[in-house]
Assembly symmetry: C2
Homo-oligomer: 198 residues x 2
């Protein structure tokens, strides 16, 4: 039945997102998406270059969602640098834990598995990291050697990323309270923003 055009693209994205979140990248197959949408697999190729293209569209969504949350904190002016840092750290952790499948494909997967996400999109991420670095420098109050600031921001990131990663991959001892670990991870990252010890 040609010519329905009931915004098929959106339906595809909807069902693809559901499958991705529920069952992961490999089980999000073109045929299964199509079946749920109510069309054939080849139709997906009318709207997306291939499975990777479709996936990148979903990744854009995830990035946007994350950035909106981060920017909301970073751009608040009636806050101290410490408050902003704590806020972005927690926002980042929450995003990863609440959208594990998105997080996984955005930051966890080797570029080998899903073809490389356009580097310019990662520039936007790097930009947020620089703003985190700026707040770290503010919080520490010492001279901001740019290279050192970059390292500190990266360290904060690796710390949060590691926490999300191990929790998402279910590698961490189940007896360990997840909330405690998350709280402490924030504090451990915050330690990077402490004024350098005498």
């Amino acid at each position: 039945m040609p010519r329905p055009a009931t915004n098929l693209r959106e339906s595809i994205l909807d069902q693809a997102r559901r499958l991705l979140l529920a069952e992961g990248y490999t089980r999000m197959s073109m045929r299964r998406i199509a079946s749920r949408v109510g069309c054939t697999a080849t139709s997906l190729y009318l709207y997306f270059k291939n499975k990777n293209g479709l996936f990148h569209a979903l990744m854009d969504e995830g990035m946007d969602k994350l950035f909106v949350g981060l920017d909301h904190v970073l751009e608040s002016t009636d806050t101290t640098p410490q408050e902003r840092l704590r806020g972005v750290f927690r926002t980042y952790l929450d995003f990863g834990l609440e959208n594990p499948e998105f997080y996984e494909v955005m930051f966890l997967l080797h570029p080998r598995h899903t073809r490389r996400y356009p580097p310019e999109k990662y520039r936007a991420a790097r930009n947020r990291l620089e703003r985190v670095g700026a707040d770290i420098a503010l919080a520490r109050g010492d001279d901001p050697d740019p290279a050192e600031v970059q390292v500190l921001a990266a360290l904060a990131w690796t710390s949060l990323h590691g926490t999300i990663s191990l929790l998402v991959a279910q590698r961490v001892d189940a007896r360990l309270d997840q909330e405690t670990l998350v709280d402490r991870a924030v504090e451990h990252a915050m330690a990077l923003a402490l004024p350098p010890q005498s």
Copy 2:
């Protein structure tokens, strides 16, 4: 040509390992392994239950290699807790960075992708983490509340894991010096073993 039995199992493991390290899990296909070994794909099933079984055999190798390195440091007696901690942290980082594909499948991948690795194997890993916790407690010198020690060890792990993970996934800004980041990651983890501030 039946009955060669030239230790086919070892040849399979060799070629599988090469493919895994060079091209990743999905591109390590049964047929490609077989082709390099010089047999048919179905022969692999004589030695391994399926692709996942073959993969788990490789994973055992990786685990052993990592544990040998960690134990070498953990069991040294002529060292301080601080020295041992710094040693295990660096050993762990080096292992991850030198065997990225192994590390990826061992700790990075969601159990969804490769069928679950036997939990008892992870018990061995947890055991090492407990010994790290013990050294952290020693280094801090304060009363060792077991739950707190577990959290501290987990935090150290997440921190190192995050560093490896982002470097392996090539997510970190290329302009940032990798060695510096690794060194600082060790120090950041070591901060967890500092005596609690007054």
